[in-house]
């Protein structure tokens, strides 16, 4: 057996690939599902926190700042392990999917809050004053005047953070979430051949490359205005 065919047999083994592609495919569905869930709840929570923080009450702002700083300091894996092994002790067991979703949502929310808050700060105070002077309420002024400008500034840093956080769904393998990496690892040990890991890499590229391309488009469009 030549070295070349040994390499192919080890990493691009068609027989192994054929047997395990359904598992990798299912993993892709789970990765996409948990990723979408994280993006939706994480950015929504981050936006809500940034808006609450801009309300101007210390009592509201302080816990938000603490939350954002703690969540940005902790490795996401630690958050997941704490939730996965800590919550059952409190009588609140969560599924691997729920733990991955909640943990990464909290992490993304912390970064999203910081990005959007920075965007809000960059909008001159005269903007809200002008809106209020025409009779708009605080929330109306925020929604129609301040946030559209703040989000435009927040989107470029936010898209990078969304990609980084959704890629961390791979950490779900640690709590036995059957996403791409976990399924690939299982298949690898089952088959005694690392081809499923190569398949996992391809699967990640299929899932995340479009996101990277999309983010470039978004940055180009929103970065200008």
């Amino acid at each position: 057996m030549s070295g070349d065919s040994g390499f192919l047999f080890t990493f691009f083994n068609l027989a192994v690939a054929k047997q395990y592609w359904p598992a990798i495919g299912m993993g892709m569905l789970v990765t996409v599902g948990v990723g979408l869930a994280v993006v939706a709840t994480g950015t929504a929570l981050g936006l809500a926190l940034a808006v609450l923080r801009s309300f101007g009450l210390r009592l509201l702002a302080l816990p938000i700042v603490v939350f954002a700083d703690v969540m940005r300091s902790l490795p996401p894996l630690v958050v997941m392990i704490v939730l996965y092994f800590g919550l059952p002790a409190l009588g609140l067991p969560m599924s691997a999917f729920a733990v991955t979703w909640v943990a990464l949502s909290l992490v993304l929310a912390a970064y999203a809050e910081e990005s959007i808050w920075a965007g809000i700060l960059a909008v001159p105070p005269g903007q809200l004053e002008a809106a209020r002077s025409t009779g708009m309420g605080w929330w109306q002024g925020m929604r129609c005047v301040v946030l559209p400008q703040a989000l435009r500034r927040a989107v470029p840093p936010l898209t990078n953070r969304i990609i980084a956080t959704t890629k961390n769904t791979a950490l779900g393998s640690v709590v036995a979430l059957n996403e791409i990496l976990n399924n690939a690892q299982g298949a690898t040990s089952h088959a005694g051949n690392p081809t499923p890991l190569v398949m996992a890499s391809v699967a990640y590229l299929i899932v995340f490359m479009p996101l990277v391309f999309a983010s470039r488009g978004v940055e180009r469009r929103w970065g200008r205005a």
């Binding site: 001159p124 005269g126 903007q127 004053e129 002008a130 809106a131 209020r132 002077s133 025409t134 009779g135 708009m136 309420g137 109306q140 129609c144 005047v145 559209p148 400008q149 435009r152 205005a225």
Partner: protein, 246 residues
């Protein structure tokens, strides 16, 4: 009855007293110009009239509503009190038309096409009907400020407050904005204008108010204040400022 009545207005920031008891009335259809040195409290007084600043003490009544009452619906009262800002404060993400129509739609709850028609009419009144689709960044400073005036006018307020409307403009653009204000005066709009444009105040104002040190030092017709000022502080201000600028 005056349309705007300011009585005993005080405003402090910490221990710094910016306004020390301002009394001022503006009658319907009047153009009142407020002049005075920087830091005299002119802008603060103006910003108290629609509660962009909260007065420390005193009473302000606008169009029969007590602005300073704790029971007032300020969003309601502000629709009656237009404001034009030194830095224009146009919404950069919206077209000129949307800048003007936003409050018509969101505050007065007018349907889109009616709001757009009113906004277009307001833009035409300030000579910018052709710029309705342009973003603020595509307009000159003078044009931006005219959009700012249209935004205030469109809500059909009873009075418009002008906070140094031409101070941020290049000199050659000032006259366009002043002409729009003269035109508003012709149409009977009540205006309270904080300004450094002495020639404009002299020629166009029904009444001129001189403020210094957080109080109204002197007021009267433009001719009285500019030509025969009674107070020494007014005289020295006009000697320094008036002759230099106009």
């Amino acid at each position: 009855m005056p349309i705007l009545d300011i009585a005993g207005l005080h405003k402090s920031y910490g221990s710094t007293e910016v306004l020390r008891g301002v009394d001022l009335q503006v009658n319907t259809g009047e153009l009142v110009c407020v002049i005075g040195p920087s830091g005299s409290g002119k802008s603060t007084m103006l910003r108290c009239c629609n509660l962009l600043e909260t007065p420390t003490r005193g009473r302000i009544t606008a169009n029969g509503h007590e602005v300073t009452s704790s029971a007032v619906n300020i969003n309601h009262v502000r629709q009656d009190i237009g404001m034009v800002f030194q830095q224009f404060n146009l919404y950069p993400h919206l077209s000129a038309l949307d800048n003007v129509s936003l409050a018509l739609r969101k505050v007065q709850r007018k349907p889109r096409d009616e709001a757009d028609q009113l906004a277009q009419a307001a833009l035409e009144q300030v000579g910018l009907g052709a710029k309705a689709g342009n973003r603020p960044a595509e307009l000159s400073g003078g044009q931006q400020q005219r959009v700012g005036i249209a935004r205030a006018v469109a809500l059909k307020p009873h009075i418009i407050l002008f906070d140094e409307p031409t101070s941020a403009l290049d000199p050659e653009l000032v006259e366009d904005v002043l002409n729009v204000m003269r035109d508003l005066r012709q149409r009977g709009m009540t205006m309270l204008v904080v300004t450094h444009e002495m020639a404009f105040a002299h020629a166009a104002a029904d009444r001129v108010v001189f403020m210094d040190g957080g109080v109204v030092v002197e007021q009267g017709t433009a001719a009285e204040v500019f030509e025969t000022p009674r107070e020494p502080r007014t005289r020295s201000f006009l000697a320094r400022y008036g002759s230099a600028r106009s």
